[in-house]
Symmetry: C2
Subunit: 670 residues, 2 copies
């Protein structure tokens, strides 16, 4: 039987070999964390390599994602569908082993990581999802949800503010099933961390309400075993196991930043093999070591046992079991189409001006009781952003009842936790803040989009319409920045009806959506049955005078009402004009070329786009001959109406601009 | 003589009155913090209302910026150029009293605040600047720099991760002259913070190496005085004074979130007047209270005394004094034009391919010795981003020698600290990270741009050219997002020479600049004396076949070389083609219409833009008839060359696209 050190060395050697072959990667962390990984992955980690989607598996997040080869070696050796050839293709185009772990690319990777700190923050969301799902579905004698969330973090993760935000909430939420291994190797890319990370991490985490274990020797199996046992015993506090380790363990570059981010070099690897007592050729793992790592039989048995228990549960609680399966598969309720139809019909009836954030609140009040998977929240702006449905109760961290999360003033942590809730399964997270604070959450929204999570960000106070709070709170470039995140659908509805459609789109799309909503009241557009249906296409003709238009006005959200008033004026002047509402350019761009041409004929060049945000985005739709009424500088503090007027968002100015565009744009250049 | 409570009440009543008149604002925090403000501002705060720019004044940052009326009341009463009429115009368009404090708008406001947590992070930069400037210029018996940085923070500031990042560094850097008052009122917008901010803040800050004082009663002057005295005595640790206060103190909405963000209402204000024993009409402050607040005489005397000391210093150290004045006025050295000319000439000579990040490192190696105001740094990527000049030493927090800052993995905190260094004066901060991590720093760059700080962000690894690290590390939307931040100049140079020009532009511009640099090597463009001069204009004709072009290729950075190779091929096919390099669209857009038309003639519609980033931005330059070769999804992990090929960044594909554009674009539509 191989020793545990030998088993850990298999991870080390595979990591070195793959990085050496790729001539790219981060060997230091895999070498340093191999013993931690062996202690966790071979001793009580609940997983089934044959089914990476097993809902009651333990989750594992490698927050220091640059150690990706450690994870790939673990997945390979324990028996996931990750053959040796994939390891040999480490970091090559099209391989299952990209530079950093990517959810959806590699079986067994529970979360995309790389940008430091976000992995642990996402793990907090997973650990919360586990407790909430257990609260909702477990019954006396039937613990169908009963797993843990494990996370490896490095110094860098704990320097990033996002980890502070999420770990503070993990303490508040008493997430005892979250167990974090801190790879305290004292080295980051710039060298020994003492000069930039001198804080007392143990004390800090105690201050956050965590159980802190260690520092232990992260290379001693008995210390690791004891620490893990102690962490597993603690139910009301997350645990941080501080593991003192040596980056680059086993190599001549041990304890040196030089082992962090570049291949060790063939000579250093050769020497490390000797030091580790490893005699095999590159990528060769002795059979008995392979056998000791192989987790397939155990994993299969574990899931089998769970399936038997689930069958018992199903027999005892057939309706609940059915709902559990629906929820954890991410399926909408069977009657959801009818629910959406009712919502849209109801919201189409509104005739009084209403802020779209308030229309969104109404939509949520209606929707949330029908979709128990929805978990709401806000970064301390609940009343303003309208994310708490009337039926929702705040989370109670002693029982995990309540499906509304008060995230505090933590936009970035909130967004990572949303990703974690979505990744875990069983929940559809949505949460809100002001659009200007999207900035703080940006990278989490991006990573969420990269993972394709089903989550909804609610960004309100979406323009200079914020008024008195002034330029720090008035988004300018944020709407366009959101639209440029690949894979994210952005909706900026213009009234209550478009808001209802946006929510429908957000809930039915199995991916991430951002809703961009006004603080101020907006008028309701008059709609025909036809234009109502067209909203779903992201961009459509809201009004037109008829015939081939001489001029097209494009607008979104709070500027549609303004454009509509200008439309009246221009029409009265005898101009053939068309008003296009473009609530979601992403959705519009996925429509057929025919649809897009029917809405925006290529030959009509007199185009004016109106949006109280950065102008840059809109040239895509108005070209070199059109114009954009938008913002090219920061906003100003003042009454919203005064600010709007100051920046030219008036009917007169729109009409003047439109006439100017008309006068200079070529007519039908073809 | 009025009591200190009465003096504090003047702040309270002015705040209530202004918010009531505006029918907008945040009364709770001013009411709660008035006693803290009285204790600080009337007892030892060193400032001169007649000269808000006095370099040796204490700095004051209101990190919970929504309490702006407290600061405006302080500035008004102590004698700044902020008349009562400005208070009466609180939050009105064009007033000096915007909703949140704005640097450059209101005399005496040292920092724009509003987005929580960033104020304290910026204050850390100011406190560091003070110590570094003292180290550099003070001489035995001549303490010309000898002031403190004070900051008020609320619960929300301490929830935001950015405060953790910066406060950790403040502890590491032993910033004993940073004194932070924590307005621990236990209330945030969503209510009592216990449910989302349960951590032990005192313990956490002790873990960060701070002196923690209190909790004290934030309404008891004797406790406040003792706390401040104790904080001032401590020289090697920043101090956090935890003040237990009552939000909305004196009003019926005390201790309630309802006092936070909305006017109290005239009835509540009237009752609060009675409770506070305040008998005057709105905006009326009794003369003896005004007199007790008036800090003009003391302030004048303080600066006078300093000027005498500075005169002595000048006599003893004339050269140093001259340099001190240059530095603190933000002026470049007299010979800077010659320095830049030498740099540009030298970098124009490079003929071998070189990554622009490496060209930037060379520029810094050359520039830094000439510009001692430059303070470099990186968020733990020093070697990769090339921000440490060969002449630089790391900061030594015992002596404050060394002008290179290891920020650790803290992009957001780093950027706030850069803002603080720049705001303080005497330093020109620059620092770097990977462009994909700009996301984490975004809002600090935005607020820096809003304040117009003179700082330089160095963002390297600027595209899929990152290669193996994969999509988490490959920027897509980041370049365009940077370009849309109002007031920020963005440069994406294509070779060593453009990189030199970009650095010159960044140093000579009295505002913020971001440099976007390649990881991978790029070829050097061949240049005439004429095209060299044109680089400064942000966009220019790099190459052309002559005559009116049929086709324009536009490119930036690492794609200019690709475009140039395609240019050769197209020219060989007999096409009249022009290659435009557009390293800075902001600078280009500030050029005359004539210049822009000469580079991009309106009538030439066959245009192809090439940039390995989000395509959206480029339609502004290619219109409806052109095309963009860019990225519309996330990148991939793989060898940079393989990734580039996968996404079509090849000469053949550029040529094919160009021919397609040529075939369909109208020719001279006028």
């Amino acid at each position: 039987m191989p020793t545990r050190r030998q088993l850990a060395n298999a991870l080390r050697v595979l990591s070195m070999d793959a990085i050496e072959k790729a001539q790219s990667g981060h060997p230091g962390a895999p070498l340093g964390m191999a013993d931690m990984a062996e202690a966790l992955w071979r001793h009580g980690l609940k997983h089934n390599p044959a089914n990476p989607g097993w809902v009651d598996r333990d989750r594992f997040v490698l927050s220091n994602g640059h150690a990706s080869m450690l994870l790939y070696a673990l997945l390979h050796l324990t028996g996931y569908d990750l053959p040796l050839s994939a390891l040999e293709d480490f970091r090559q185009l099209g391989s299952k082993t990209p530079g950093h772990p990517e959810y959806g690319v590699t079986p067994g990777v529970d979360c995309t990581t790389g940008p430091l700190g976000q992995g642990i923050a996402t793990a907090v969301g997973m650990a919360l999802a586990e407790r909430m799902l257990a609260q909702e579905f477990n019954r006396e004698g039937h613990n169908i949800i009963d797993h843990r969330t494990y996370c490896f973090v490095g110094d860098g993760c704990l320097m990033e503010g996002v980890s502070q935000e999420a770990c503070s909430l993990a303490g508040t939420w008493k997430l005892g099933r979250l167990i974090v291994f801190y790879d305290a190797n004292g080295i980051s890319i710039d060298g020994s961390v003492d000069a930039w990370f001198s804080e007392d991490t143990a004390l800090r985490f105690r201050a956050l309400g965590w159980q802190v274990i260690g520092p232990i020797d992260g290379h001693k199996t008995e210390e690791l075993d004891a620490a893990i046992a102690s962490a597993r015993e603690t139910v009301d506090k997350p645990s941080l196991i501080i593991c003192r380790t040596h980056i680059g363990f086993g190599s001549a570059k041990v304890d040196s930043a030089s082992s962090h981010g570049a291949p060790l070099g063939s000579e250093t690897v050769a020497k490390a093999r000797v030091a580790l007592g490893w005699e095999e050729a590159p990528f060769v793992v002795p059979e008995e070591i392979r056998a000791a790592w192989d987790a397939r039989a155990l994993g299969y048995a574990a899931e089998e046992e769970w399936m038997r228990r689930f069958a018992d549960y199903e027999a005892a609680y057939p309706k609940l079991a059915k709902e559990f399966l629906r929820r954890t598969k991410g399926q909408l309720p069977n009657n959801s189409e009818a629910i959406f139809a009712e919502l849209c019909t109801s919201q189409a009836k509104e005739t009084n001006p209403l802020a779209t954030r308030k229309a969104s609140k109404r939509a949520l009040d209606f929707l949330v009781p029908h979709f128990p998977e929805m978990v709401g929240g806000s970064a301390d702006l609940t009343g303003s952003v309208g994310t708490m449905a009337s039926s929702q109760k705040p989370l109670d961290p002693t029982t995990y009842e309540g499906r509304y999360l008060y995230y505090g003033v933590r936009e970035f942590g909130m967004s990572c936790i949303m990703n974690g809730l979505a990744l875990h399964g069983g929940f559809l997270p949505y949460a809100g803040t002001f659009l200007s604070f999207f900035d703080q959450a940006k990278n989490a929204v991006r990573i969420g989009a990269m993972m394709g999570v089903h989550a909804v960000w609610v960004f309100t106070h979406d323009s200079i319409g914020v008024g008195e709070d002034g330029p720090t709170h008035q988004p300018i470039e944020q709407i366009a920045s959101l639209r440029m995140i690949p894979g994210l659908d952005v909706w900026r509805p213009c009234d209550s009806f478009e808001t209802a459609v946006a929510w429908q789109a957000a809930l039915t799309r199995m991916g991430p959506t951002a809703l961009v909503l006004s603080r101020q009241s907006v008028p309701q557009s008059t709609r025909t049955a036809e234009t109502m249906d067209m909203v779903r296409r992201g961009g459509y003709i809201l009004r037109e005078t008829g015939g081939t238009p001489e001029l097209i006005l494009l607008a979104t959200g709070s500027e549609v009402g303004l454009a509509s008033a200008a439309f009246d004026e221009l029409a009265a002047q005898g101009i053939a004009v068309r008003l296009v509402s473009l609530p979601s350019s992403q959705v519009f761009e996925r429509e057929s070329q025919e649809w897009r041409e029917s809405v925006l004929p290529h030959s009509v060049r007199a185009r004016l786009a109106i949006e109280a945000g950065s102008t840059d985005f809109w040239y895509r739709y108005v070209g070199l001959d059109g114009a954009v009424l938008g913002m090219t500088g920061f906003g100003l503090s003042g009454k919203a109406t005064a600010v709007a007027e100051h920046f030219g968002f008036t009917v007169k100015h729109v009409v003047d601009l439109a006439r100017e565009v008309l006068s200079r744009a070529p007519r039908s250049p073809k």
